[in-house]
């Protein structure tokens, strides 16, 4: 028994889950269900091409272009596709705009539904129990966890993504940004501000 344990130890410096995923990948490759090169492309796509900078460009465009903003609020799927972002987990997009009186927050209490083409892969907290449990009941408490306090008079609207509609929050344009270019504005738009758990940066914030 002691010998077995020693033997096991020699072979498994990696955690169980690492070995399990490797084993699964090997079997799927041997069975011809997957193209290993496709896995690399999938990973590279979400590491380098599809992420929250896409959504930031959508928001910045809406801030500078009233016609685009109107289109985005009326038909987000088409407006977002016009900037080149479309597809998996963003097939049916809806944009919701923060105003002086209303703050929007997006959650998926049942799993991890998230607008991938504009925000990329969801962060860990978005998929975790604390956020999914509390967003619909105590959104101000959630905002406090992100260091955000809104006026008591601000109404909070939470969108629970329970079907295949995916929501993108259009945060309010920060004050003092009249002179910024669209690109500079996009740099102020944080991922969390497009989920509704944060606010955009201001020009005075450190980069």
């Amino acid at each position: 028994m002691a010998h077995d344990q020693h033997h096991e130890h020699e072979h498994s410096e990696l955690p169980d889950i690492e070995l399990r995923v490797r084993a699964l990948r090997t079997v799927l490759e041997q069975k011809g269900y997957i193209d290993p090169a496709a896995l690399d492309v999938l990973i590279d796509t979400y590491k380098t091409k599809i992420g929250p900078r896409n959504g930031a460009r959508v928001v910045a465009r809406a801030w500078v272009d009233a016609v685009f903003r109107k289109w985005l609020l009326e038909d987000a799927t088409a407006a977002i596709a016009s900037l080149g972002y479309a597809g998996r987990q963003g097939e049916h997009m809806v944009a919701v705009e923060n105003t002086e009186s209303t703050h929007n927050m997006v959650v998926c209490t049942l799993c991890s539904c998230y607008p991938w083409p504009v925000l990329g892969l969801p962060p860990t907290w978005y998929k975790s129990a604390p956020y999914r449990a509390r967003a619909v009941k105590d959104p101000r408490g959630v905002l406090a966890d992100f260091g955000v306090t809104l006026p008591v008079s601000t109404e909070i609207r939470v969108w629970d993504s329970t079907a295949e509609v995916r929501y993108l929050v259009i945060p309010r344009r920060p004050r003092g940004t009249d002179d910024l270019t669209e690109e500079e504005l996009a740099a102020l738009v944080t991922r969390d501000s497009m989920i509704g758990t944060g606010l955009p940066k201001t020009p005075n914030d450190p980069p």
Binding site: A23, T26, Y33, A38, D138, V158, T197
Partner: protein, 220 residues
């Protein structure tokens, strides 16, 4: 009730605080991107649909103790083994022990951008008028379901208002059970915080869900 989802978390107390994360923190271990890619690549074989995969994940007995990518991997193993595509003995042995079964499609590297850009739209043609109109007040059904469903527990038996009509969409409950798409009208239904949580509700809170028509009934 033989079907139990462990994923219906909305409104549960006791899960603690939310831990924010930097935008650059994409993966936390080398196996996580592998879990993502394997899940997406196998999803593209059309051996199951997205509702079946959600059902497989939410019924994992240890759902509450797994990280999200672990949930994906265990859900994937379940979907594969249930269909005889991969045996649990093969995963234990880390090699193929049984011949492969045919799959509809194997996504090739060159096809990935097209496959992702196409996605899987769920909207379907209209064949009947919508039962409810915008601003109409409705009540969500109260009964539990012994299968995958997308009406969260916290929003069952609650009175809300139809805010948007989202078109006709594949019905998740049927699709998850392999009963076909059976498309239905989908509505955004908004509830006051008070309706959901009573007097303890945060002031100025409203919460919406997207609900298929059969989740809703007209108020008398």
């Amino acid at each position: 009730m033989s079907y139990r989802s462990h994923a219906d978390l909305g409104g549960q107390d006791g899960h603690g605080r939310v831990v924010p994360e930097r935008e650059s923190e994409l993966f936390h271990a080398a196996w996580e991107p592998q879990a993502l890619a394997l899940t997406l690549a196998m999803g593209a074989t059309d051996a199951w649909n997205i509702d079946m995969s959600r059902s497989a994940r939410e019924t994992l007995a240890d759902y509450g103790t797994l990280t999200y990518y672990e949930i994906w991997i265990e859900g994937l193993v379940k979907l594969l083994s249930e269909r005889g595509l991969v045996g649990l003995d093969e995963i234990a042995a880390a090699r193929m022990l049984h011949p492969p079964r045919p799959v509809t499609r194997v996504v090739q590297a060159a096809d990935v951008p097209t496959v992702l850009a196409k996605g899987s739209p769920t909207q379907r043609p209209v064949t009947a008028p919508a039962l409810f109109a915008v601003n109409e007040r409705v009540r969500t059904r109260t009964e539990e379901r012994a299968h995958h469903t997308r009406l969260p527990g916290y929003a069952r038996g609650k009175i809300g208002r139809i805010e948007h009509i989202r078109g006709v969409h594949v019905f998740a409950d049927a699709n998850a059970q392999g009963l076909g798409e059976r498309p239905q009208w989908l509505y955004t239904v908004v509830f006051s915080g008070h309706e959901l949580w009573g007097d303890a509700s945060t002031q100025g809170l409203s919460v919406s869900i997207d609900a298929w028509e059969s989740y809703l009934e007209r108020l008398p």
